[in-house]
């Protein structure tokens, strides 16, 4: 295992200390329980937006804390959901009297821990709404699974809901918006290599030099299919086709298109994928109104990418375009 770390068990904490040092104008880091909070929290009268999940997906979520996006992020150990005490402390820190929205990715651990946190918050009189993001089309959504995983749409939901909260929308409105974003967003990822969880020290999965994993999860969970490596265009075709099959984006509909790197794939490759994705959208008459290309929801040093398409109307675009000031998204 080759990593720029000091000790697996101190890595998350030390990275957060680095973030605190680098972005003191944007955020503060609280330890024990661990959460990252907007420097100017709480914002009186504003809905507080809290997200969180295992670490190893940076910049998500701590890189999205700041004006116009998240009020707080709760980072767990690598690939492990954070705990209710973190979420409760974060909720308290950001509650400006208008309530708190938990944006939760659909993993059993995340869901249960946020659920317990919401119960604790309710007991303490903090108004909380939870929205579960489950946009990963790689997973068959059925009675026989824990349901679709929350992946790329989370990033877009956090930006859009952050903008809505910033302009004073109510908790019910922001939660409804978050559900709408989730309903209109779909993602699919793939991996060329495995990641290595620091505390484990070995690759999460074995994969041959000529193989790829289609539909991989952001924790290196096996995907839909192990296939022989194909060209960037063929890979893009597979990912996009699965997304298009799932949500019938209409001819003339507008989308935000994200081509996301898994952590170990260089930017130049993501642009090659985006180029093909744009061709595919053109062919279907789907209009890419905005795009986001880079490492936003990663899986440690995994090589690979994911595609997210979010069907948006003008209102969502307006919220997308609203100012954001975080370590990872800034406009």
């Amino acid at each position: 295992m080759k990593k720029l770390i000091n000790a697996p068990e101190r890595a998350v904490e030390e990275a957060l200390a680095g973030m605190a040092r680098a972005h003191g104008d944007l955020l503060r880091v609280h330890f024990d329980p661990t959460f990252v909070v907007r420097a100017d929290a709480p914002q009186p009268g504003k809905v507080g937006i809290v997200s969180g999940g295992g670490s190893g997906h940076e910049p998500m979520h701590a890189g999205f804390v700041g004006a116009g996006m998240l009020d707080a992020a709760c980072p767990g150990a690598f690939f492990t959901s954070p705990t209710p005490d973190q979420m409760v402390a974060a909720a308290k820190a950001v509650d400006g009297g208008a309530g708190v929205l938990f944006i939760v990715k659909n993993y059993t651990g995340d869901v249960m821990n946020f659920e317990i946190a919401a119960e604790f918050c309710a007991a303490e009189g903090i108004q909380v709404e939870s929205v579960i993001v489950n946009d990963d089309v790689a997973v068959q959504n059925s009675l026989y699974t824990a349901g679709r995983r929350g992946v790329g749409t989370t990033v877009l939901a956090e930006k859009i809901c952050g903008a809505a909260a910033e302009e004073g929308q109510s908790l019910a409105q922001v939660a409804e918006l978050c559900r709408a974003v989730n309903g209109n967003g779909r993602s699919m990822g793939m991996a060329l290599t495995s990641c290595i969880v620091p505390a484990v020290g070995r690759p999460t999965f074995a994969i041959g030099e000529a193989e790829m994993e289609i539909g991989v999860g952001i924790h290196g969970e096996p995907g839909r299919e192990r296939m022989m490596l194909q060209s960037a265009d063929e890979i893009t075709d597979i990912l996009a086709a699965t997304i298009f099959d799932d949500l019938p984006f209409q001819r003339g509909s507008q989308v935000i298109a994200m081509v996301n790197g898994m952590g170990g794939t260089p930017l130049v490759e993501l642009y090659i994928v985006f180029r093909r994705l744009a061709e595919l959208c053109d062919a279907r008459g789907v209009i890419i109104a905005r795009n986001l290309i880079g490492n936003y929801i990663t899986s440690l040093e995994m090589a690979g990418c994911s595609i997210t398409l979010l069907d948006v109307g003008d209102e969502l675009l307006r919220l997308w375009d609203a100012p954001v000031r975080t370590a990872a998204l800034h406009w």
Partner: protein, 211 residues
Amino acid sequence: MIQKSTLIDWITIYAQEISTNKEQLTALDAAIGDADHGINMDRGFTEVMQRMPSLREQDIGSFFKGVGMTLLSKVGGASGPLYGTLFLRMGMASGGKEELSLTELAAQLSAGVDGIRQRGSARPGDKTMIDALAPAIAALQEAADAGQETCQALEAAAAAAEAGMKATIPMQASKGRASYLGPRSIGHQDPGATSAWLLIKAAAQAACSAQ
């Protein structure tokens, strides 16, 4: 009667077992999950052991609650809320006590496992810790009803847990991370069922050496 010290031994032995089997639990999770179950459990029980000096001074109810709260705040993932709930529920059912009858222990474990089922809504056959815990509780209650000794009763429960754990191998997961694999989850032993078997086995060990 089961003394508080035996329950403390249980948790102490289990913490040791988790530490010993950390790698194996993680390897099981690597096959059908995200390779952290051993690490998660060990993080939690290391903290439990660190808090043990103050925890051991409490009554059984508060002791279990303390264990549960520690797991809840230190483990994370799916297993944190589930094992946390188990101990919290056991604690609620045994407030103020300094010793337990076997029937009481069985009832509390049963309440704890009900808590897990409510929280995670897994049913037997879903390839989770429930597949080890449910048969263990059934065996324990049966043994208690039959008037068996605590040691033998818990050994029967541990045997049932082990069988339940092994029975997860041919199952296709429909809860938790492993469910994403669909049929690819078949042929692997569930990590949570494995840590659950270790839990019951540790209880038997503590009870039998207390005899």
